[in-house]
């Protein structure tokens, strides 16, 4: 040190020689001194004026050095105190330090060592004096500030610190802060403090404390150690703040994260998180099962593209890109084919979406292979049944046609011939009295007439000849007339005969649908009028049967197993058998319209 620090030192010792020697020494190095031979005197002097440093002997008759120090500190809290002791025991030194001594000196005094100790003490004192200003700054802050010795003994606490723990400074100073720390965290805190070295003099760490009335709180502390020339920690300056709120948020986040993790793991569906470069960054157990790859093999290592069938890959790559430009631009639900580790191809229903605010997507994969197979089989079975039904209809129509031809060509003509013959006989015996033959003959003629009528109506029931001779419109008109006569419901038929005529099977089917629709009208609708229209547009034929009856609630009728379906199912099956489409438009009180559409 080139420049001597200026300062005032109060020396207390019951041995006058030491007092003088010290006065001379201090004068030499530039300090002013005041000498007292007892603690009592020293305290009186101290009440009158302040000093930069108090040096007191430990062992004195009236007051011990420690007592002097304590009393002196209560007069001037900023005062720096040094104890001189003849008994070089460590315990004494510790006791001295605990009483608030800045340092201790051993007798006999080594003058060489004395100077740096005094210089530093004076300087610390100066700093401490300026602490009034420092404290004012400190108290405005919300941070907790303290200084403590390596063993945890607090030598300084700010007001925030006191308020935080609801204690007065004197309750805290001179005592270790360790009891304030939650038991489990103490060893950590201790470890951190003692990890400080001159090379790494600062450290931050978090721990829990018990704050009166506030329970357990989290704090974050930044410690900075002061070392002596030997690299031993003298004191630690520490700044702390309450981080309970942040910790709670972190904890909530962690819980939320855990919750999502749990959901992710337990959705029951294979789920992965996909990065922008197509890498799978997270996969659940179900995905392990689906793919045959373990999580370790997958996460951060495999691209989803490695498990996609080549035919589906380009489309999916495009979706992957599009989705990251605009999440709505790519479908979030579609099917693709997945190849597992063993090379088995699986049908997957994929649900994928961008995780908001990221470039990642989350995808869940549902294996619908079995469903697909079942669906395919079902569809095949249904198509077979439909084909059979259609074939059955055709066969039936063919048989009806044969039967009608037989009835016409043979039975009908025979009956006509029979009628003529009977008429000849009738003519022959006319005028001749014959009580037996004539009535029998007349009876026979009547029976014949009835039989002929019966056969004729049977023929048109089976298959109206108009169907084959004239076409769909003719047969519909004819049936409409018959229907109107039979039921009293007015029937209007609109439309032209199809030109060229349609496939015979289709015409027959459409006619059968008309018959069934009219049958429904008379059975259920309670209608007054029915309109049948047949129109062709762009090679599409539309047949409609509209009534002004009571209509019905389609939901109720279709969904209730008890409700009769009004022959709708059978009509629809007929329509589907010719590759057509049948729909029913109706509402209670609004009449019913059956629409059949068939392409040529």
């Amino acid at each position: 040190m080139n420049r001597l620090p200026q300062g005032s030192i109060l020396i207390v010792d019951d041995e006058i020689e030491i007092l003088d020697a010290l006065r001379d020494f201090f004068a030499e190095i530039g300090y002013e001194t005041e000498r007292c031979t007892s603690g009592g005197v020293a305290l009186k002097v101290l009440e009158k004026r302040s000093f930069d440093l108090l040096i007191t002997d430990l062992m004195m008759p009236d007051m011990s050095g420690i007592e002097v120090l304590r009393a002196a500190f209560s007069i001037d809290p900023q005062l720096i105190g040094i104890i001189i002791t003849g008994k070089g025991s460590v315990q004494t030194a510790v006791d001295a330090m605990k009483s608030g001594a800045f340092d201790y000196l051993l007798k006999p005094l080594e003058w060489k060592l004395l100077k740096p100790v005094i210089d530093r003490a004076i300087e610390v004192g100066r700093v401490r004096r300026s602490e009034k200003k420092y404290r004012a700054i400190v108290e405005d802050q919300t941070e907790l500030i303290c200084r403590f010795l390596p063993d945890g003994t607090l030598t300084f606490v700010n007001e925030v610190y006191c308020r935080y723990f609801d204690k007065k400074p004197e309750e805290l100073l001179g005592k270790s802060f360790m009891p304030l720390v939650v038991e489990e965290d103490r060893s950590v805190v201790f470890g951190r403090i003692h990890s400080l070295t001159p090379e790494n003099p600062a450290i931050s760490y978090e721990h829990r404390v018990r704050a009166p009335n506030r329970g357990i709180r989290w704090q974050c502390w930044t410690d900075r150690a002061l070392f002596n020339d030997d690299g031993i920690i003298i004191q630690i300056q520490s700044v702390g703040r309450d981080i309970t709120d942040r910790k709670l948020i972190e904890q909530a986040l962690q819980e939320s994260e855990n919750r999502y993790r749990t959901i992710f793991e337990n959705t029951g569906t294979a789920t992965v998180i996909i990065e922008e470069d197509t890498t799978i960054s997270l996969a659940n157990t179900e995905y392990e099962k689906l793919s045959g790859y373990t999580r370790e093999e997958t996460e951060g290592k495999r691209s989803w593209a490695e498990n996609v069938l080549a035919e589906d890959l380009e489309m999916m790559r495009q979706y992957h890109r599009l989705r990251r430009i605009d999440p709505a631009a790519a479908p979030s639900r579609y099917e693709f084919r997945f190849i597992d580790r063993s090379g088995t191809v699986k049908n997957i229903l994929l649900a994928v979406d961008i995780i908001p605010g990221t470039r990642q997507s989350i995808a869940s994969l549902l294996d619908i292979t079995d469903l697909k197979t079942a669906e395919k089989n079902l569809r095949r079975a249904y198509e077979q049944v439909r084909a059979l039904a259609a074939q059955l209809n055709e066969v039936e129509e063919k048989e009806r046609k044969e039967l009608v031809r037989e009835l016409h060509d043979q039975v009908g003509q025979n009956l006509t011939a029979l009628g003529i013959n009977l008429n000849i006989i009738l003519t022959e015996i006319a005028g001749k009295e014959n009580d037996i033959i004539l009535p029998r003959l007349e009876d026979s003629l009547m029976l014949l007439e009835q039989t002929t009528e019966r056969i004729r109506s049977l023929m048109s029931d089976l298959r109206p000849s108009l169907m084959d001779d004239y076409g769909l419109m003719a047969v519909i008109r004819w049936f409409g007339r018959q229907f109107a006569t039979r039921t009293g419901i007015s029937v209007t038929v609109q439309g032209e005969e199809l030109d060229p005529r349609f496939d015979q099977n289709v015409e027959t089917t459409l006619f059968r649908i008309v018959q069934e629709a009219l049958n429904n009208v008379v059975k259920h609708a309670g209608a007054q009028n029915v309109t049948i229209t047949l129109a062709e547009k762009n090679r599409q034929i539309a047949l409609t049967v509209t009534d002004d009856g009571r209509g019905f609630d389609t939901q109720r009728v279709y969904l209730s197993p008890e409700q009769p379906k009004w022959g709708i199912i059978s009509m629809r099956e007929r329509a589907e058998a010719i590759g057509g489409d049948l729909r029913v438009e109706t509402d209670p009180g609004k009449g019913t319209r059956v629409i059949v559409e068939v392409k040529r």
């Binding site: 016409h408 060509d409 043979q410 009908g412 003509q413 025979n414 006509t416 011939a417 029979l418 009628g419 003529i420 013959n421 008429n423 000849i424 003519t427 022959e428 007439e449 002929t452 009528e453 004729r456 023929m459 000849s465 108009l466 001779d469 004239y470 003719a474 004819w478």
Partner: protein, 135 residues
């Protein structure tokens, strides 16, 4: 006109075209009893009808609407085109309007459903033949 035709000028000629043999037979026998002075010709198809008519022109043709190959309607058209004077009576199992109107368009004078034949045929024939000056 040949000699034969001249000799029989006054006798009405009725041609029956019907593919069902028993019916054709009954029809001829029945009509013979009613019109004993008429001459009856018979055929069972459109081709036979035209072949017969190229030899002997009937006054009236009783035409079954249903014939194998060419049907009664088409045959009537051909007859009326070639022999407009010949009257055609269409006989049919059906009484639907479509058949009647087809028959009439083809040139048939009368359309008679077979089940009404007993009552309607004789008066019709009498009327048609009366144009020939016969009862």
């Amino acid at each position: 006109m040949n000699e034969n035709q001249d000799a029989q000028r006054s006798r009405p000629v009725i041609l029956i075209i019907e593919d069902h043999e028993a019916l054709r037979d009954s029809l001829r026998k029945w009509l013979t009893t009613v019109f004993p002075e008429s001459e009856f010709l018979e055929g069972k198809s459109s081709e036979e009808a035209l072949a017969i008519m190229s030899n002997r022109l009937p006054d009236v043709v009783l035409m079954d609407i249903k014939l194998p190959e060419t049907d009664g309607i088409e045959t009537t058209k051909r007859i009326k085109k070639k022999y407009p004077e010949t009257q055609v009576v269409m006989l049919s199992m059906y009484d639907a309007e479509e058949y009647r109107s087809s028959a009439e368009s083809a040139g048939a004078s009368v359309y008679i459903p077979k089940h009404k034949m007993y009552a309607e045929l004789i008066p019709v024939l009498k009327t048609l033949l009366s144009g020939k000056g016969n009862p």
